[in-house]
């Protein structure tokens, strides 16, 4: 991921079947690359909010926003400004634990990164960590010195800073 060329786009869509398919299809057929996409209900339950992270130059991003806006089930599209957004990703990591020393090493690292241990078994731990993708990448780098058994990342979700909000135009 090169700095400065990743853009986070917030999309309010109709909360109904087929919309995710339509968006994924649009990205594929227009040859846009998605870094990540997350979806969940929005303030109003009849709409959902997608957070899409894409990689590309200014022209590509402009086209992505316009093509999204053109879709009938898309209610609002906003490209979030760099430096004016809060961006988070959640990751669950299952790590094998050989002995007590490894266990305490992992727990120490988790504390430094303000993560949490969410499951403990005799020879493994599950870690939950939340933060910017960079922070999670840094944490995973360290975890790779241990044996990672499983890894799940949610992809980025984000909101713009301040009172101004992205709402459906009436």
């Amino acid at each position: 991921m090169e700095a400065g060329t990743t853009k986070v786009i917030s999309v309010l869509v109709e909360n109904k079947p087929g919309v995710l398919h339509m968006i994924a299809n649009l990205f594929r057929r227009r040859n846009f690359n998605i870094e990540s996409i997350t979806v969940g209900p929005s303030v109003e339950t009849d709409s959902a909010r997608m957070t899409i992270t894409i990689h590309g130059d200014e022209k590509t991003v402009d086209q992505v926003v316009k093509q999204l806006a053109k879709q009938i089930d898309v209610l609002k599209v906003v490209g979030l400004e760099h430096g004016h957004l809060v961006m988070r990703e959640l990751s669950l990591i299952k790590v094998a634990v050989k002995d007590a020393k490894e266990r305490s090493d992992i727990i120490n690292l988790v504390e430094v990164f303000r993560g949490r241990i969410v499951d403990v078994a005799t020879d493994s731990l599950m870690v939950e960590i939340t933060g910017t993708p960079d922070k999670i990448d840094a944490f995973l780098n360290l975890m790779h010195t241990f044996e990672i058994l499983e890894l799940a990342r949610t992809g980025i979700t984000a909101l713009g800073r301040g009172t101004k909000s992205i709402r459906i135009d009436e």
């Binding site: 087929g18 398919h21 086209q63 316009k66 806006a69 053109k70």
Partner: protein
């Protein structure tokens, strides 16, 4: 609120949208709708002989009339056969509504439910997502009237396009309380129709100061009915008018300032002049690659104004100086009055002199002797025999490009062809659809033998439904356009282009009960066209031509418009 079946709700909704004709083929999963058609004699059903052609017929109907065309098919293969027609309508922004049957969502026998790979089940909504403007699948009978309203609204407004309604069989047969409404309720569909005054004044400023203005009109100018405004603007600025292939007919091609089409096989004068312009006013065009050729060489010295209803087309292919996102007709009206305040009449002597000079120099009409049986002479002869409002459709390939070059379209909606998708087999069913829309006007499909064979079975539809059209087969027994590419770009290594022993087109026509005439000279051709036009019987005119005739000029892939090749 009235109790009725879903099929009845559908038909009554279609009638409220003034649907008077449906092109289609029935099958098991759409039978309830067909049964309901018996009770709605005002809606004419035209039985196509292939669903793809039903879609093209709806397209031809829509293009000729400006109304929304309707086609219908059953589930599974019926629905998938529509796909090419939908893709064609999507690329060329043609308003059509397609109705498909679908297996039931629920029923007594649960093995017939959607998602269980039932007989003739296809997930048509997923399949057409990429080639429709929108698609619906009602899950309740009471939703049908609103869905039909929405479907017609989406298909016909903004940038027009195809919409599909997929009707599960139990929704067609089930009975429920239904309320009809005129409302359209789509909160995510916002139309921008009025141009921004600030953009209009910027554009007017550029136009008033232009020394070498040119207007480029695309298919959007026809959809928006902006023909009159383009003529007035040309007159005000003394600006030549070129069109894209899709815009052909929006400006009368006999007009002294008409340049014809630009493009890979564009009119050489149009390709030349657009490179010399200092201001380009583009109206309703997406700057498709067959029109612009290499982008860096496209009108490189011109400031560009882009009037376009679809915001996503702005800066997609060509970077423009003044984008105006609105209805093309309204934008042109606003632009006309704004420009008139700055300019009483374009002086333009030097520029119009230059236009005239280039047109004379590069006219593709001068060579050949008038008696040669070549596409140029045939198409010029056809123009003389057809009234101004006669409708021409074309197939795809050389026949299409020759038609673009040599057949002068004089009015909008009189030249109908598959531009974006380039669908061979389009012209004949489109002609049938156009004839249904305009029964009092002659409709002629200019075909090649390769394309015509792809939908010749519609002769059965044309004859039995009494929709008389004329097909002119420029018969060279070869897939001519690709043969030309193999000649020019693959060192004459011909592969799979020779059609071998092709059917006798005269006998083929007669086998279907149509009239077949062979014409081997210009005189015979003229006689055949006259006979076809006066006989009111579907007629195939077979005209043998040389397989070696190229379409020229030719802008090879990777070149700019000024680098056109060929002896023209």
């Amino acid at each position: 609120m009235t109790k009725m079946s879903g099929a009845q709700a559908l038909l009554e909704s279609l009638e409220k949208h003034n649907v008077d004709v449906i092109f289609g083929i029935l099958g098991g999963a759409i039978l309830p709708v067909y049964d309901e058609l018996c009770s709605h004699p005002k809606v004419r059903h035209i039985l196509a002989r292939h669903e793809q052609c039903a879609a093209h017929e709806a397209e031809g109907y829509a293009k000729a009339s400006g109304k929304t065309g309707v086609c219908m098919a059953t589930s599974g293969p019926g629905a998938t056969n529509l796909v090419t027609g939908l893709a064609d309508a999507y690329m060329d922004s043609i308003p059509i509504v397609a109705l498909t049957g679908q297996v039931p969502t629920a029923g007594v026998n649960t093995s017939y439910m959607i998602g269980r790979d039932a007989f003739q089940e296809a997930d048509i909504i997923s399949i057409v997502t990429a080639v429709t403007k929108y698609s619906y699948q009602p899950r309740n009978i009471s939703e049908i009237p609103q869905m039909v309203n929405n479907a017609f609204h989406i298909a016909s407004t903004g940038r027009p396009g195809p919409v599909l309604i997929d009707l599960p069989k139990n929704i067609q047969t089930g009975i429920d309380e239904v309320e009809f409404t005129n409302k359209v309720n789509i909160r995510g569909y916002k139309l921008i129709t009025e141009p921004k005054p600030q953009k209009i004044s910027q554009a007017a400023e550029l136009l008033a100061k232009a020394e070498r203005p040119i207007i480029l009109a695309g298919g959007g100018a026809i959809s928006a009915d902006a023909s009159d405004e383009i003529v007035q603007m040309s007159d005000l600025l003394m600006a030549p008018v070129a069109t894209t292939f899709m815009g052909k007919g929006v400006f009368p091609e006999m007009h002294p300032l008409s340049l014809g089409c630009i493009g890979m096989h564009g009119n050489p004068a149009a390709n030349r002049i657009i490179g010399e312009a200092d201001v380009l006013l583009a109206v309703g065009t997406r700057f498709g690659d067959r029109a612009t050729a290499t982008l860096s060489a496209f009108a490189p010295d011109a400031k560009k104004i882009h009037l376009e209803i679809d915001n996503a087309e702005i800066n997609k292919n060509i970077e423009v100086d003044v984008p105006i996102v609105a209805d093309a007709k309204k934008s042109m009206q606003a632009l006309l009055s704004a420009t008139k305040t700055k300019l009483s009449k374009g002086e333009g002597t030097t520029w119009t002199k230059r236009v005239k000079e280039v047109k004379e120099q590069l006219s593709p009409l001068l060579k050949d002797r008038p008696r040669d049986v070549v596409p140029k002479q045939l198409l010029m002869a056809l123009r003389e025999l057809l009234p101004e409002n006669g409708i021409v459709t074309t197939e795809v390939g050389q026949n299409q490009m020759w038609s673009a070059l040599y057949f002068k379209a004089l009015k909008p909606r009189t030249f109908i062809s598959s531009g974006g998708l380039g669908t061979m087999g389009f012209g004949f069913p489109a002609a049938i659809g156009a004839k249904v829309a305009c029964p009092d006007r002659p409709v002629v499909d200019i075909a090649g033998d390769g394309s015509f064979i792809m939908s010749e079975q519609e002769l059965a539809c044309s004859v039995s439904e009494n929709i008389p059209v004329v097909v002119i087969v420029l018969n060279n027994s070869v897939l001519g356009m690709v043969a030309q590419w193999q000649r020019a770009l693959y060192d004459r290594r011909y592969m799979a282009v020779n059609l071998g022993k092709t059917p006798d087109m005269v006998k083929l026509a007669e086998a279907y009960g149509a009239q077949g005439i062979r014409a081997q000279s210009i005189e015979e051709f003229q006689k055949a066209v006259k006979q076809a036009l006066s006989s009111h019987v579907t007629t195939v005119i077979d005209v043998p031509i040389s397989p070696e005739t190229d379409v020229v000029p030719f802008v090879p892939p990777g070149c700019g418009l000024p680098q056109q090749r060929g002896d023209y």
